[in-house]
Symmetry: C2
Amino acid sequence: MSTLPQAPKLQSFLKESSQRVETRLHETLSEPGSDADKLFEAMHYAALGPGKRLRPALVYACAEIFHGVDFDAARCDSSAAAVECIHAYSLIHDDLPAMDDDDLRRGRPTCHIAFDEACAILAGDALQTQAFELLLTDSSEPCLKLQLLQELASASGGRGMVAGQAIDLDSVDKSLSLEQLETMHRLKTGALIRASARMGALLGGADSAQLEALTRYAEAIGLAFQVQDDILDITVDTAVLGKPQGADALLNKPTYVSLLGLDAAREKLRGLHSEALNALETLPGDTRLLKQLADYIVQRSH
Amino acid sequence: MSTLPQAPKLQSFLKESSQRVETRLHETLSEPGSDADKLFEAMHYAALGPGKRLRPALVYACAEIFHGVDFDAARCDSSAAAVECIHAYSLIHDDLPAMDDDDLRRGRPTCHIAFDEACAILAGDALQTQAFELLLTDSSEPCLKLQLLQELASASGGRGMVAGQAIDLDSVDKSLSLEQLETMHRLKTGALIRASARMGALLGGADSAQLEALTRYAEAIGLAFQVQDDILDITVDTAVLGKPQGADALLNKPTYVSLLGLDAAREKLRGLHSEALNALETLPGDTRLLKQLADYIVQRSH
């Protein structure tokens, strides 16, 4: 560790990884061969709108620690774009009138408002497929490619993200225990964040202990992200958040803040942050970027 | 060809392949590990309700011709279940209020009526993922598995089935040319039927000329299926069809019958039937089952 160059800068890393994944998304959504222009416009709108690109950043960051500056980030582009496609599809469908019925996302009209509801449903459907197609065009050797596909599929489906969304919808006007709330978040947002880290680790050539450590790291920051979301939901106003303040509270959805109170929710956030940093300790290489990413998640203001 | 045993019987083949795929679907949807019971109930309801199981039958039938009675049909179960999952997901989403707004499908309430709209959207989403998961658990060797995944993905997404559905929705109250109508159907229903045949062919070990012949066969029966659907839509009553008679005509959607008239639509159907049979002529093995399947598609009454 003594020979490390200067600490990586999170902001420039996030900017670079965003640019990489946006370039790949733009490429894949602009390939010819479609007869459905409006559908692809809606896919573009949803996948390439403003966003933190946190999941793609995790793919790159978790791969890079095994290689340092020599790592060829291009090897991660398809995986990074794939996790962003799944994320974008889930947001389109979550925002639909039959689901959370949100008109605003990141300060812009949601997909079904900017286009129409049918088009939004289909754009979400096609972005899910596009995620798998991206991995299939990846240049990784067949067994690695299948591992990446497996990670993405098990995180996304009825035993992953979609299950979380189903539990979330059923929780309106119900009281969940802290354990049930945690299960919901581990599925709804945690599973894809976990898969992003694991896909990066696999691309970087992690052994099983390293894969396990990055999994623990990702599980902790995934949950921390959600706790911070719940805190921001009641402490930050609409203009900063890009969505109505108190939206979850208004829907009478259980949150960490409603179950624990604001102070204990902040305590929970600190605990998860420590867990994430602990998980990094067994890893070789320069993990400072991953530490900064964990710091960013608990400190972010929107 | 002179030593062939008695002609395969289509009805018993369809029954057997339906049973195989239903068993595989039931298994995969019953595996433990989900915390979202209602979601899986809706997935079961949609994927295992009454249906022709035409796409799975094509997978089995196209694989079998290269092996005859010695073929181990179990090798096709995951692919057969995967194409049925994609088909079931597409029907759930097609039936939604924002899309075709159908309350009845195969004589039963559609998924969003039997459950609710949010649950139906998610069940469709999760069935799409389940299709890819099924192929990933397949026992085929890695390169074949990747080929199967590629066939499924390119047939399903924004350059396949979903594009077809998008064009279909945009066609309401518009006049399409025959060419545009054909493009729509080749994407909306044709692409998955084509992929089913190609996946069967790949599982059976087809060479590239054989794969090409089965592709031509599937393209012809896929379009024939749709022409027959349009004919049935105006000639058969609701009780037999399991959906309201004249539904497409009421929605003012262009059909083969509205564009060509009933007689010319029937002529078109006969032409496609011939094309399918011609494509089979270059194939080795016993293609009588595929011939019977083509006959069934143009003669079916619901």
